[in-house]
Amino acid sequence: MSLRLQYARPRDLDQTIGLLDGLSAGAMVIAGGQELMPHLNYGRISPSVFVDIGNLKELQGISATDEGISIGALTVHRDLQTNALINESLPLLAYAAAQIGGGRQVHNRGTIGGNIVAVHPLYDIIPALLVLEAQIEIVSAAGSRVSNLGDLLTDTSHQLGTHALLTRIVVPHPPQPHGWAYEKLKISDGCYASANAAAMVTLRPDGKLGAVRLTIGAVTEQTIDLTPALSDLVAEDPDADLNDTIAEVCKASIPEPLSDQQGHGEYRRAMASVVARRAVAAAVESARG
């Protein structure tokens, strides 16, 4: 336990930004604490200040706007699962949040903002949000900006720095109708993924594939967006055997698979193709209603 740790609970967003701007790099924002507290308990981090953002109203609430569904960064996993708007408009996100491990306790307290900023390769939110082409609102003393989530995750970190806050996630209204699926392969119910895949599919009026969006998580350091590589599938018959194409694209995009308690690298590479195929097939089924 760091003896020098100080604590601040700013009253609003302005005050938080002012505070973060004036603090040294050792200060850390804390929301639900589900990520930071295990690290603190094991002495892996020694922040100089905890800036508790847990009560900031500006980072709360879920609403529909012209741009899309706006989700406050403090929205907990449980709310993603139960909120009517999310279930209706972004069922993929509601479902992916329900697959998060750690039990109801973690769902009650872990936030979507904290999950994104953790940029953990085994987590479930980023693969779903990338398929949904989510945007992120970032506020710092320099002002407020909106960025594609994908652009923010160009390496294994988030590039927010220590002086900025992720305030909201804005998910553009998905095309209607669309099909979706999230496949999480795991050793047991509460576990992290050995491989996961999020898919979104639209069908053209003639029944052929329209858009096919696919991400693979938990297999490499960074979530892989296979959407560009799968552009050949557009206009294909969804009942044709797409497995070879998907497997090839998967294989080519995984040069160095992760090897950890969730499985050996070669297994993970093989499983990436499996979850990818399952996710696309299930998304096609769901697009057909």
Binding site: Q6, G18, M37, G103, Q105
Partner: protein, 173 residues
């Protein structure tokens, strides 16, 4: 207006909250977990320390009626909240809470280390879903590990608890 940083920084935090219905006001170190606050400062040792990573669930308590792993919750963040620990399940006449009663009847524990967490997770489940299926019971308890029972007797205990417990007669605060 420039933020007065020093004014916002605290070396110790005054936590004011309710624990099992009683008002509590304590000065704590900012790094204190809710688990340490309950066990070390309030001497409520029914909440157990397990893995300290949020995996095992032995430290489960409720914050405003929602289960939380207290080892990975910052105590400073429970300002003005209502905390329920296993000690708060006891009925006023000292008899067992229906959920505890069911765990006793069905041997829903062996060593008892996971029991405080199991009981609170069961209570949250039954408040939301008075008649859970076995699959729903298993899902609801997926954040609580037990290394003795093999879970069968725990699932049975929750089934019995669903018969004994009624939200209308719930006196837990």
């Amino acid at each position: 207006m420039a933020t007065d940083i020093q004014e916002l920084l605290e070396d110790s935090v005054l936590v004011q909250c309710r624990v099992n219905g009683a008002h509590v006001e304590e000065e704590i170190h900012p790094a204190t977990s809710l688990l340490d606050f309950l066990r070390e400062q309030l001497r409520l040792t029914g909440t157990h320390m397990g893995c300290m990573t949020g995996h095992c669930g032995a430290c489960t308590v409720m914050i405003d009626g929602q289960i939380t792993k207290s080892c990975i919750t910052l105590a400073a963040s429970v300002q003005r909240k209502k905390i329920t620990t296993v000690e708060g399940l006891r009925n006023e006449d000292d008899s067992l809470h229906p959920v505890q009663q069911a765990f006793c009847e069905e041997s829903g524990f062996q060593c008892g280390y996971c029991s405080p967490g199991m009981l609170l997770s069961t209570l949250e489940l039954l408040r939301e879903n008075p008649n859970p299926s076995d699959a729903e019971i298993r899902k609801a308890l997926s954040g609580n590990l037990c290394r003795c029972t093999g879970y069968q007797s725990i699932v049975r205990a929750v089934r019995v608890a669903s018969k004994l417990y009624s939200v209308d007669k719930d006196s837990v605060s």
